[in-house]
Symmetry: C2
Subunit: 320 residues, 2 copies
């Protein structure tokens, strides 16, 4: 595989072998009460319990351990304020190479602390996509590090697809697979795996209505930009790339949107009924079931991350 080709099913199998020593086999949880509330038998693949608290560890480990020794020696770099940054720093530390992380000034303290805990070297930049991209490009030029994009990268997409390879051993084929959509890397990898392993299953991406670029790009004629996203689901504010849109068009059945109230209600429901900590982005597919945007008798949901800021849960009124 090279950086400009799309990943194939074989690449997912290679990724699963490559990352096996470095990621957790996450459990699948379900609750009869929660299934009743959601009107469907739902099984949750708990990537919120994954190393570094999110599925991003899969793609990051695959990208880092796929590098040849010469390239690896110079380290890896990315621009991200979220789970990919921590996952990449962790993967680099596991391989014993440096990681350079560009983070926007004002990024959440908790996210910064996670990157630092894994030994990532943080460079601050202005909080715009242009500033992030140019700071990362400069870093790559100076250090010789390999840029590992959070989603527009075939090894990252293949790594994310390993979730379904694992899940297919844990549960019977569902009728519907629901995943959140930010940049579309998880959606692309999931759909690629489902087309081979569960060809009868519908694969639907779910996006906050306040950050609906993927829905508009998928249903419209061309790739649209994410303008001024407004959503509590901070992991889903990114936009599809040409590659992830192409892969979604090839393998995904639909992309639907949900409301902010639905996301908060779904997040609370997962804490209450499944007894797990999820971040808002992870609750988005459950909001689609709550709001009737997706329906089936047997559903698999990928719970993507657990890195919620526990000082300010969105259903608890803040002290002024």
């Amino acid at each position: 595989m090279s950086a400009d080709v799309d990943p194939q099913f074989d690449d997912l199998e290679a990724a699963a072998r490559r990352i096996e020593p470095y990621v957790r086999r996450t459990p699948v949880l379900s609750s009869p009460e929660l299934s009743r509330t959601l009107g469907a038998g739902v099984e949750f693949k708990c990537e919120n319990l994954q190393a570094a608290g999110a599925f991003k560890s899969r793609g990051a480990c695959n990208a880092v351990f796929a590098l040849d020794a010469a390239a690896a020696a110079h380290g890896v770099a990315t621009h991200s304020s979220g789970n990919h940054a921590a996952a990449l720093a962790r993967a680099a530390r596991l391989r014993g190479i440096p990681s350079y992380i560009v983070m926007p000034r004002g990024a959440a303290r908790i996210k910064r602390a996670a990157v630092e805990a894994y030994g990532g070297r943080i460079t601050e930049c202005e909080p715009s996509l242009a500033a992030r991209e140019s700071a990362a490009a400069e870093l790559v030029l100076r250090s010789g590090a390999t840029l590992v994009h959070p989603y527009d990268d075939p090894w990252v997409i293949a790594g994310q697809g390993t979730i379904v390879l694992e899940l297919a051993v844990q549960v019977a084929a569902p009728e519907l697979v629901l995943v959140p959509v930010g940049g579309g890397g998880l959606l692309a990898g999931t759909a690629l795996a489902c087309r081979r392993l569960w060809p009868q299953a519908l694969v639907i991406g779910v996006e906050p209505a306040g950050a609906d670029d993927a829905c508009r790009s998928f249903h419209g004629g061309e790739l649209v930009a994410q303008r001024d996203p407004h959503t509590i689901a901070d992991g889903l504010r990114g936009a599809l790339s040409a590659r992830t849109l192409r892969l979604a068009r090839a393998n995904v059945d639909d992309i639907v949107t949900v409301s902010e109230d639905g996301i908060v209600a779904a997040m609370r429901l997962l804490f209450d009924s499944l007894k797990v900590v999820v971040e808002a982005s992870a609750a988005v597919p459950v909001a689609a079931l709550l709001e009737g945007r997706a329906r089936a008798t047997r559903v698999a949901v990928i719970l993507t991350g657990g890195n919620a800021d526990l000082d300010t849960l969105p259903w608890i009124p803040a002290v002024r």
Copy 2:
């Protein structure tokens, strides 16, 4: 087994077979970061993910399904404001028999709602132990129901002991097993199982310093009453019975206490690092590791329950 004999290891094995269709095989979770923080390799048996959100489902199911048909037809009764009440109501519904639950006036809305959701018939009483016991005795007399005590009951103790039977298949023998102590049913069942399956492991019960009757009874000459308990760990405000004290003396290595600050810090740590929802009572053994009240290289902790009130997490300041 009869109600006035102590359970033996065989009774735990019988309980495991009896309750198998009605309870979940809960996962074991761990986190390298959390182990580093706690200074020990810790594996968590997640009974917070058990049916009805607590290990109490095991003892309740064992007691309900051990009844002969004639006794069962009259139903079961208990006095409890907590997880045992919901677990008993659930077990009774699974067997298709009535359950009568005496709850103190002013019991938490969330606990009441759980009992009602499982079809339990609630009788209110004054919030004193004497009022609860007399209301339950009257109910039993009137209905012919069998009283299932939350912990002073050999079938309940045997049911709780099945946790370790399951855990022993999931993990290697630890050096130390930590469990919270309220009435001592879980501690008695756990220690009984450990003495057979992990004879080298220390078994230590952990109790809030603000409700330290078990610690004083265990180390002193006689059973002392629980006077005026003050702790956030609402599941641990009960007192040992003569039976659970006798079983603890026979099989338990120590009972230690922890502070309220330690309990809140431990609860927060489990949300943050293990990404699971636990109630305060479940965090008590982790507080013992944080506060250095128990030490070992490899530790197993039973996370007892996940029924936290998510409207008021103790580390988030309340809006007045």
